[in-house]
Symmetry: C2
Subunit: 344 residues, 2 copies
């Protein structure tokens, strides 16, 4: 019996167009067929979950923005004014905002799309001690898993990852250095736009962290690195991706930070590769190199470096397009169009 | 007084995101402001016009598909089964199909979005004689101009170009060779997927045409090349783009063939560059090189090579997103978010 993949390849080869001429859309369409185990994939119902957390390492002066921006930006998400609000709405994508560890009590803040799953008010400064305990990291991952299960139960057919966390490119770079063996000078970039002085500090913080936590990484594996140098929102996204693989829900990975979470998820269980779509190549220095190492072929390259899930939101339109190509386009036979003379 | 561009740059710099972090979306947003002369650009109403024409040069055996496919594909457009139908519908884009010279009488064919502006039933074979007379070429260009005026009168805020014409990559390659000085071996590719034997024939046809019509090109300029080696649909798109510039309507150029029309339009009046957005880098061999020569920075690179306007349809979603970023995102001040400590 032919596999879904073989049948999907055959179906798309018979659409009224030159063979392979829809490029990456065709690859994505076939992958969606495999994930959903159907020849008529549907990802009409889409959701992006933005996980937010504060980072103790921000006190090292590694970011261009003050840590107070975490709380301010969550409020901005909830009032609809952030980039991800605009792009999710534009793409017909449902939005969820989840506090896993912002240093704020969000007193009196209420919103239908805001969930509080606070593990602790920010990670510890990993320039001094591990960012999280094993328990905290596991709790943050579980928050991500719960969000995925909630979305799947709501009938969401494709999810995207988003994040907010001042200083989280520092955590992401440290994870890339640790898990992909990238030198700190390679993995570390300007994030939200730091000057040379801060970049030197940031690179040193990353380099020293990879040395400092080697024992934890060696004994606890990728989860050890995640708790030592990661972030609460990165751990949540890691859990979100792992659970998406289990639930066979396609997951669109946003930019630099989300890719760090995907890298951890892949190190824990490489099988989750099947459900992952890398949305875009970020303008953040190391991302192109990271994507190459992950053998990832991102859909977009728009020099984005905002995070929040903005790249995922834009890529979802393309993935939805690819599903519709598979379902709605006519075949040579049904449309009465002559096939190529050159092809078998 | 500050220009719209300066004001637009200032406005987007104050949005709640790191400076420049939305990359190409920001560039596009500023350009839309300039085109529409407003700080609140809107491209909600979108339309793609697919121009179809037959090519006499098809009889040289330069395509993988029989010439009868032109008529069949127009009927496929009208019944909604082609790639462009699916992607235009997906993007909320109105579709128009215009026959400027398909070798068919379309007897009894009626559709609300089909316009017959037949100049003649296909071009002449430019391996033997000029594809069009001056009058025919002018009439095809005028058909394109009329379509643009019609769209603008309907309130369309952004248009996209599409085409259908078996053998039209041969015409496009000849135009690139003639207008950009590219050797035929460089400008010519596999189109819909021809084998090596046909590729040799196609390259020879292009090389000889550029020599054969040098006198016409020298005496009549880009319009001379357009009529000698172009196509009726390519001439129509050229007129469409030139008129878009006049009407200040942003025009999204699809792939290889549409870029050939844009190249002619730019050679005729370089000022139309202001309204042109190049949608994507096609998988057709020479397109990357052509885009570099035009100093174009395409939005997408999805290995598409279908034409019909499919790349334009996908890129329109991004352009619409950029307009919405400009209009809907909160500023640091309005959202109460702290600005960067590093920036002035």
């Amino acid at each position: 019996m032919e596999s879904i993949k073989q049948l999907a390849l055959k179906k798309i080869a018979n659409k009224t167009k030159p063979l392979g001429s829809l490029g990456m859309l065709e690859d994505c369409a076939v992958r969606l067929c495999e994930i959903q185990q159907t020849l008529d994939p549907c990802v009409a119902s889409k959701k992006i979950v933005v996980f937010a957390g504060s980072h103790g390492v921000a006190e090292e002066g590694v970011s261009a923005f003050p840590a107070a921006v975490n709380e301010q930006m969550v409020l901005n998400f909830l009032s609809g004014g952030a980039g991800i609000n605009v792009l999710a709405h534009h793409g017909g994508i449902q939005l969820g905002v989840v506090d896993v560890g912002v240093d704020s009590d969000f007193n009196g803040v209420e919103s239908t799309f805001f969930t509080r799953r606070t593990v602790r008010r920010g990670t510890r400064n990993f320039a001094k001690e591990p960012a999280m305990t094993r328990e905290e990291c596991a709790a943050a991952m579980e928050a991500g898993r719960e969000e995925l299960r909630k979305a799947a139960a709501e009938g969401v057919q494709m999810v995207g990852t988003g994040e907010m966390g001042i200083a989280n490119t520092t955590a992401a770079s440290a994870l890339f250095s640790a898990l992909l063996g990238m030198e700190a000078g390679i993995s570390t970039g300007r994030g939200t736009g730091i000057d040379n002085e801060r970049l030197l500090v940031k690179t040193r913080v990353v380099r020293e962290a990879v040395i400092r936590y080697r024992t934890i990484g060696d004994s606890e594996g990728p989860l050890g690195w995640l708790r030592a140098v990661g972030g609460l929102e990165i751990a949540a996204i890691t859990g979100f991706i792992l659970e998406a693989a289990q639930a066979r829900v396609p997951v669109v990975v946003d930019g630099f930070i989300s890719t760090a979470a995907a890298t951890v998820a892949l190190a824990i269980n490489h099988a989750c590769r099947q459900v992952i779509f890398f949305s875009h190549k970020s303008d953040e220095h190391a991302h192109a190199d990271v994507l190459r190492r992950l053998n990832a072929d991102p859909l977009l390259d728009l020099r984005l470096r905002l995070g929040e899930g903005t790249g995922a939101a834009l890529a979802m339109h393309l993935l939805d397009a690819s599903a519709k190509i598979m379902c709605e386009m006519a075949s040579f036979e049904s449309a009465g169009v002559s096939a190529s003379e050159s092809e078998p």
